[in-house]
């Protein structure tokens, strides 16, 4: 890695002692000796193991659940169903007033995705829990499911989640988050070329080497210590408090070093049910996702569809950009309404465009609920935007890098969401990339600056 100090030297004082120094990491000695404590390295006498009975169907009504055989299985300590969960219907962003509550801790009457948690089995060994889980009998009436976002948004599509009533998240702005800036239709009308393209992704897994999980130990005083690899301690504690209707002062969350997060450990999934298990059995409880659960049950990065329509002039100026983004939330909201909204704030990318129209939708389908991941709300959008930029440049016969210089935002430029640009550095990154990759651009672009014009 090279630090190129010549850029922005006038904005920076390099007079620091500790900042900017490549100090060794204090945690590395623990990592290389195997001494670093991860949540699963805690072991308690009498600990029981939680295994989840999951829906084999994408969408089904639950006619009945019979846990009698499972309860009798040797080694089983407790079998939990929806009725055991004090506040079973929840949503995690309720903490920042983004509702409605739309998800069940354990399925109650219905399942909305294949893999949804239905019954929790706690047993002395993992094997006993697995065997007992196989004895839980759930009678399902399979319902039509919808997997395609376009299909889900059509009238008459099966309703994925009744708590929403329609297959999209209803923002205060309506069926989508909107950004309106200038007059996009006038921009298209006046453009030399108009190009509309559609981009698509599928769900992506965080794949941390350590799977999601927690170990809960009753402290013997009505308090419960939860060793967890959550990325957000109080966010998880406060949601657990709501779900279990348990005062926050009864909960003690201990984290530490997490074996990789990448956004995959900000849902509140394992902790509430494990703490409930500890409360109802008096045993320490371990609930650790298998790798299969991590891959297919834990929230992935959402699949997205992005439609971009641009009006561009022969001289390289983009004069209008319309973006319609669809985020496949799966069956429940989790963090997806937030992610779709973040996309609305990110488009039209780091370019100054006078006419912009943005709609971002959060769509429900009968698949594993998606949630946050590294680059949440932006990563797939950037793929779409930057492939579109390449296409536009080729459309008007311009070098793709020079085309970006022409449109790059600079300090003071008004963004579509009506914030003036501050601290821009896109131009300088491109200048350095031009040099590093030996990708020549005209001298005038190398002379540009992100600083406000005339500044």
């Amino acid at each position: 890695m090279e630090l190129r100090k010549s850029y922005f030297a006038d904005q920076r004082k390099d007079d620091l002692h500790e900042i900017g120094q490549p100090r060794p990491r204090s945690d590395s000695p623990g990592h290389v000796t195997g001494k670093t404590a991860y949540f699963a390295d805690r072991n308690f006498p009498g600990m029981v193991h939680l295994k989840m009975v999951r829906s084999p169907h994408h969408h089904a009504r639950i006619r009945s659940i019979d846990i009698s055989e499972a309860e009798k299985h040797p080694g089983v300590v407790k079998v939990l169903t929806a009725k055991d969960v004090p506040h079973n219907v929840y949503t995690i962003l309720i903490l920042i007033q983004i509702g409605p509550e739309d998800e069940t801790v354990l399925a109650d009457g219905k399942v909305r995705w294949k893999g949804e948690a239905v019954v929790a089995v706690l047993a002395e060994t993992e094997r006993a829990a697995q065997e007992a889980a196989a004895k839980v009998k759930v009678d399902y009436e399979v319902l039509p499911a919808v997997f395609d976002m376009e299909e889900a948004l059509k009238p008459g599509a099966p309703i994925v989640n009744e708590y929403h009533g329609q297959n999209y998240y209803l923002y205060d702005s309506g069926e989508c988050r909107k950004v309106r800036f200038g007059d996009v239709e006038a921009g298209f009308a006046g453009a030399d070329h108009v190009l509309e393209q559609t981009y698509q992704s599928s769900p992506i897994e965080h794949a941390p080497t350590e799977t999601t999980g927690c170990v809960v130990a009753p402290e013997g005083n009505d308090r419960f210590t939860c060793y967890t690899n959550t990325q957000a301690m109080f966010f998880t504690l406060d949601n657990t408090s709501i779900i279990l209707q348990m005062p926050g002062n009864k909960l003690h969350f201990v984290g530490g070093t997490v074996g990789g997060g990448f956004g995959g450990k900000v849902d509140v999934i394992v902790e509430p049910i494990a703490i409930l298990g500890a409360k109802l059995t008096g045993h320490p409880v371990s609930f650790i996702y298998s790798r299969e659960e991590e891959m297919q049950i834990s929230s992935p990065r959402a699949a997205e569809k992005v439609v971009i329509k641009d009006g561009v002039m022969k001289d390289g100026r983009i004069v209008a950009r319309k973006v319609t983004g669809y985020t496949d939330a799966g069956a429940y909201s989790r963090h997806s309404p937030y992610g779709a909204q973040k996309g609305a704030g990110h488009y039209p990318g780091p370019y100054t465009i006078p006419n912009v129209w943005i709609d971002t939708y959060c769509v429900y389908t009968n698949r594993t609920p998606s949630s946050a991941m590294r680059g949440f709300g932006v990563t797939i959008g950037d793929f779409a935007l930057e492939v579109q930029m390449d296409k536009l440049a080729r459309l008007i016969g311009m070098d793709p890098l020079e085309f970006r210089f022409i449109n790059a935002y600079r300090d003071g430029d008004m963004k579509a969401h009506r914030q003036p640009t501050e601290g821009a550095a896109l131009i300088e990154c491109m200048q350095e990339a031009s040099r590093a990759a030996n990708w020549p651009v005209a001298e005038k672009y190398l002379a540009m600056s992100s600083y406000a014009k005339g500044a």
Binding site: S26, I204, H252, G261, Q341, G375, L401, E428, A433
Partner: protein
């Protein structure tokens, strides 16, 4: 058979911190009797090295070497609230809280030193090595070790401070979408060079040259770690990763690391990282969040390079050999 070469570019920006703000983080800092400093947080270290960076930020602000700082975090019984480690917010939000707490503790420390040295606190400075000196008269000094002892056992002062950082929440205007998503943005530009086997659709990423602007590289080696790993993940997203390979069909989702594809150690692109620093106005020592954005520009850069190589556009991620081969066959007019 032809191996065809191409290159592509992409440029991006990325917001630091939770979208629309409203995401507080607190920190507490106190000295031990012998002048070591404890930072107490509830933020989580995901492996990016948050604890080490908080120690360096605290050390810089107090004016001691980093190894005099211990970070105690991720315990809700001891650490004050943090919204969490996500959205490239850890360094920015917690770092600012630590600076505020450390400044308050430093002020007490300087006041105690001033009493010991019988000067005004405003006339004192730290040497970064563990001593407090009188400005312009460095021979007149006291060690932080002695200051802490004095504060504890002689002067009854708590060398401590509280920090809280909150960007007030922005609410998007319904009709126009006017809003303030973030206060600072990191930037990147990536050029990727690929080879595509036009008979199999297989892609080899030969080189990626990444330029990242991240405000301030608080610890360059740790920044490098994140950027190198992120660059790998970006390539991985571009070419390999999906839990639903036949989306929107739910069939054939991978359940292990054999089926969930990511580049192996034999698939690595020659990777170059260049870092620029334009300090952000509200970042801790100017830092922005590099952790997420470093994995984004490679995806479109690789996609554009594939087009440059074989002349087909793959607008669906991941850009698998199958998608390329189907596109090549369609381009050739062959039935597929």
């Amino acid at each position: 058979m032809a191996i065809r070469r191409g290159r592509g570019v992409a440029a991006i920006n990325y917001p630091t911190g939770m979208n629309l703000g409203g995401d507080p983080t607190q920190a507490l800092v106190h000295s031990t009797p012998t002048g070591n400093f404890m930072v107490t947080l509830s933020s989580v270290d995901l492996g990016q090295g948050m604890k080490q960076i908080m120690a360096q930020i605290c050390a810089e602000t107090i004016g001691v070497p980093t190894d005099r700082v211990v970070v105690d975090t991720a315990d809700t019984d001891t650490g004050p609230h943090c919204m969490g480690t996500f959205a490239s917010r850890g360094t920015h939000r917690a770092g600012n809280a630590v600076i505020q707490a450390a400044r308050e503790a430093r002020q007490v420390m300087l006041e105690v030193a001033a009493e010991e040295l019988e000067v005004n606190a405003s006339d004192l400075e730290t040497d970064g090595l563990g001593n407090i000196l009188v400005k312009g008269a460095p021979q007149k000094s006291i060690s932080i070790f002695d200051v802490a002892l004095s504060a504890h056992f002689k002067r009854g002062r708590s060398i401590s401070g509280r920090g809280m950082f909150l960007i007030p929440r922005s609410y998007p205007e319904k009709e126009t979408g006017a809003m303030k998503p973030s206060t600072c943005y990191a930037h990147a530009c990536t050029v990727a060079e690929v080879e595509v086997d036009d008979e199999t659709g297989e892609v080899t990423v030969l080189t990626v040259k990444n330029v990242f602007e991240i405000g301030r590289a608080l610890n360059p080696k740790m920044v490098e770690q994140q950027l190198v790993g992120g660059s790998w993940m970006g390539i991985s997203h571009a070419l390999y990763e999906t839990t639903e390979p036949y989306y929107p069909s739910r069939d054939h989702g991978g359940t292990d690391f054999n089926q969930y594809l990511m580049p192996g150690p034999g698939d690595l692109a020659q990777t170059e990282i260049i870092v620029l620093e334009r300090p952000s106005a509200d970042g801790p020592y100017g830092a922005k969040g590099p952790g997420e954005m470093c994995a984004n520009p490679q995806i479109p850069a690789v996609a554009n390079a594939v087009f440059d190589a074989v002349g087909v556009r793959i607008d669906t991620l991941p850009i698998t050999p199958e998608r390329i081969l189907r596109a090549l066959k369609a381009q050739a007019g062959a039935p597929n």
